[in-house]
Symmetry: D2
Subunit: 346 residues, 4 copies
């Protein structure tokens, strides 16, 4: 049994990690931390986990915690994660970091967008960006995984075949994303209270959201040159799910069948990416609770534009599910272990 430990388990991503890992036959969760809720049981904070976990939240004290596990999931706020990740990593533990702290290769980019210096550049250089569809081989050998952000997951998977195959003009990509409210985290904040969100819909952080450089980093690597992306997130009155609508000019007149072929080729061996038949578009409700990324495509011949729509569950494929996928790859488990849930519909 692989012993895993969760640092920061009182948020929605932490709760979903507990839920998914409790169902993993090769794993034992040996502890979970929360500074604010230390001493409370998981069931106190998450009544829905009452029957699958008896754990009591403890304080994050890395020197004590380190003996408890072989692999550490870090679901701490960005900035706070840096040091703890480095601590476990430098002492030979496997680490999967769900924060943003080790995602951006260039520490200056990190500092510019997050307003925090990065003081663990040694570890940063060793971190692998944990998008299995892009970096499976590296993930297999990695000790430190930077688990991708939720928006970047939906955006990069949508763009990957188009950029890699140079179907589109990568300098004019527009990413219009819509996220369920759980993406904002579990917090006391009027802005995410029911009466503010329900029956509402709005854009926020247009052009300034911190996931922008993460999308740009990976798309630039795929394109082979520096790319800037126009990225707009929106807040949906729904619990879970991100729908990402992506627009880019086709470089030349390209038929539907060619586009479809590139997408199917790119993902045919991927267990969690489903390219839909032409004419079908994904719905966040059809991937809710799953690790799937569904992709729909439209070639708009009137404007010579490729429209790509992806749907993921932001807490699963966009966070905890992808983290477990990374663990499965790193530790040699079947990739789908604990990740084979069918969506709950309706």
């Amino acid at each position: 049994m692989l012993r895993v430990f969760i640092c920061g388990g009182s948020g929605y991503a932490g709760g979903d990690l507990i839920r998914i890992l409790s169902n993993h036959p090769g794993v034992a969760i040996t502890g979970v931390t929360s500074e604010r809720s230390a001493g409370k049981t998981v069931g106190n904070l998450f009544p829905h986990l009452r029957s699958c976990s008896n754990l009591v939240y403890e304080h994050l004290t890395p020197p004590e915690n380190i003996k408890k596990a072989d692999l550490f999931f870090m679901a701490l706020p960005h900035g706070e994660s840096q040091r703890a990740v480095d601590f476990f990593f430098q002492r030979g533990k496997k680490v999967i970091d769900l924060s943003a702290d080790y995602r951006l290769r260039d520490p200056l980019t990190y500092e510019r967008w997050y307003n925090v210096p990065h003081t663990f550049r040694g570890a940063l250089q060793k971190a692998v960006y944990g998008l299995p569809e892009l970096y499976r081989k590296k993930i297999k050998k990695a000790a430190l995984i930077a688990n991708p952000g939720c928006y970047p997951t939906g955006a990069i998977l949508g763009l990957l075949p188009a950029v890699r195959n140079a179907l589109i003009d990568s300098s004019s990509i527009i990413v219009d994303a819509k996220s369920g409210t759980s993406g904002a985290g579990r917090k006391s904040d009027v802005a995410v209270s029911y009466c503010e969100v329900n029956e509402g819909f709005r854009a926020y952080a247009i052009g300034t959201h911190r996931h922008t450089p993460e999308i740009e980093q990976e798309v630039s690597l795929l394109a082979g040159r520096e790319i800037a992306i126009t990225f707009t997130p929106h807040l949906l009155p729904a619990d879970r799910g991100i729908l990402t609508t992506i627009y880019a000019p086709l470089l030349k007149k390209t038929g539907v069948s060619e586009v479809l072929k590139k997408y199917n080729d790119a993902y045919k061996k991927e267990p969690f990416v489903r390219v839909l038949d032409y004419g079908l578009y994904p719905n966040i409700k059809h991937v809710r609770g799953t690790n799937f990324c569904d992709i729909g495509l439209k070639v708009n011949e009137r404007t010579n534009t490729l429209v790509i729509v992806t749907a993921i569950d932001n807490l699963v494929k966009g966070a905890s599910g992808q983290a477990v996928h990374n663990m499965n790859i790193m530790m040699g488990f079947d990739e789908k272990t604990a990740l084979d849930a069918t969506a709950l519909f309706p």
Copy 2:
């Protein structure tokens, strides 16, 4: 008192027409039709209208109905509206048509997108596109108003100052719109049933939605040349509201203040368009039940893109409210009469 008659009053737009007109001090609703619900009261179909209307639905029999009113609101399905509109119009009545039948100036474009021939081209030539912010003067003298579609209202008002002032490259406009479910009408259809829509979100009719040529027609007129638009509608789990996020390349480096000035200049005298302070973005919840169109702006310097976000209530500014606004202009009422509601929040 102006006598008005509503042809097709059993849908959501019809219901909102009754609601708004019942509150108009200069108007008397003399009748309302519904083929399927003839004989039932308005309160049977719309319990919320119980206290404001005692009308009984009757059949649409234009020769009998024509004597009952001076102005006819037509809220019939497209295709069905053509003949009835022509009947009233040719006999000297004022007509405000909420269907799509008289919106497209070119009958061939209409036939291509709606798969119905247009057989009343004489009336079509006289129709005025009823977007007051664009055509107030013509509306004043018009006898036949083609009331704009809901998506076009949000898109055109967002684009107007940018296109008219040549701030943007009109050949690369992307309109990503998200509509509440009432936009689909009041109907028996699994696709709009609660359990399908709730907690879901999806794009539909990408590049093929019938509001596309309507947006293109008006933007082309503003731009002075033929424009094709990339338009994607989405279905929101909310009752009312359309949020439209619009992207276009800036033609040259343009500062925030210049963009804001063009928008404020364009709309400073408009009673129903509110340009928000820079940094604020609109929310459909803040315009719910109102005739406002709120506009937020973002100059993305990294990608040289102008991002425009507009919010309207699809049933009010996007349908019945705008129809009443047109009536107020045509008949010389104060423009805000019966349209001064504040949004219900939360």
Copy 3:
């Protein structure tokens, strides 16, 4: 013009007071207070009120505020309201208190349920319980109104004709109420955050909710003896509305027509109570944004039970609308002034 002042205007009830009063032709709002938001505009806190109010929140400093108005609406938290109410009242101002501080006639009952002493018993003795359907005559002459709680409004209006006419055994009344989330107020609290409330439903404070003694007080007065009520509130995933389902044994076999007659007689002159036809039941969506209380009735002959269902908008009839109704009565305005809105549906 009547000058009114709102003490505590940053919550949902305060926001609705501003919305409703801004639409009242006989009233001018001369100020609004908020300790936390002093200095901000109403539009900062409530963007939907941007176009109807330019007021800036100020601190509640009664000695300064008192000159500003003839009538004071108090929407402060219970406990905090006591002193301010007394201050204005003792200096000859009209006061309508939306808190619970002056609703319970017996200060000991107040102290037992609210855990706060009542130190202004002189004012308390003069307060009139502001349920117009029960106390219209007293309200007309009152200077201090204790505006009813939201749950009590729905419960008492449902019970009034049955208890007054001794149709039911008042010692076995069960009130099962379900409230929209705005009833919990506008606050930073995980428990009312979107992801906790949405798709959820639960009972809370069973048998211990502070509105229990308020319902009991008024029902006891109607019954002519001390009555204890079994009251269970529930939290609905909806913004506004309270549906109250009330059960009581019929004292003797009573026909539908007799029950209906008692209800219609009790409310036939009431502008805001609508007794529905037998077989119809109310829906919170049909009274949203209105001051109506809709009532549906069922005589269950198999169990000899009367089932009464009422629907109100908790922020309007259950708070701010009723407060304005009380003001209209006190000041001699037509009772429906500013309260004639039709529900927004859908």
Copy 4:
């Protein structure tokens, strides 16, 4: 491998059966029927099931279908189920009927409430009411299971310990239940369309709902005498879940600890019933997607009333999950097989 066949698999209960059974290691689904959708794939109707089923809907032709399986799940409309159930049952197949057709022991009661004669009384006499907590032993040996209705499941499990132990006066039981919209089925009906249900809440079929005699039958058997129940269902703006609030007078003064002990004793061995600590109340969101029934209790000493609150997922514990539970018991599988899901929260 147990071969199972689903008759009527295009509704929400059918969809959930496919979802749950696809995850059952001892079962193979050999076919699924739908008259309206014959020829379509499961993925056409339920995109969320795309990855877990390749089945194509076929017509229900019992003589042909009978060879395909050992056990038949029947999810047909009531009335239609009778004959097909009898057909399979008389030919030696195991049958689990999710319709109401075999739940009521007295065919006259069935005919009175369902307005359909029962013409298969032989089979009816052999049917076992499939509530495992009541009839586990009989279910083990049964060939024909009448799977309980959703409302009865929540009501009976809430009442069982109180009635069996004579804690309450069974002649005055009130059951106030609130169900998510999936309980109404997957259908084309304006009444369940998004804009009618969302932001609404209402009671329906007060005292006349067809689940009334089913609750009464089982509670009467527990009480040892004929019991009539006052039952009111309500429609919640949520996908899944039934919260049932039950009221009954305590027969004598009974302490909290005694009540709790009876409930804990009754359910301590039950894998799917969780009695919550005193002071906690269940939430439908905490059982969503699970086969749990959570129970909260309140002894109201002021009114000498026991208040019982239960929460289930209407499609799982209230339909398909309970059906699989019954199958597990009948066929000797571990009871929790395929039913160990943790709730998806949020």
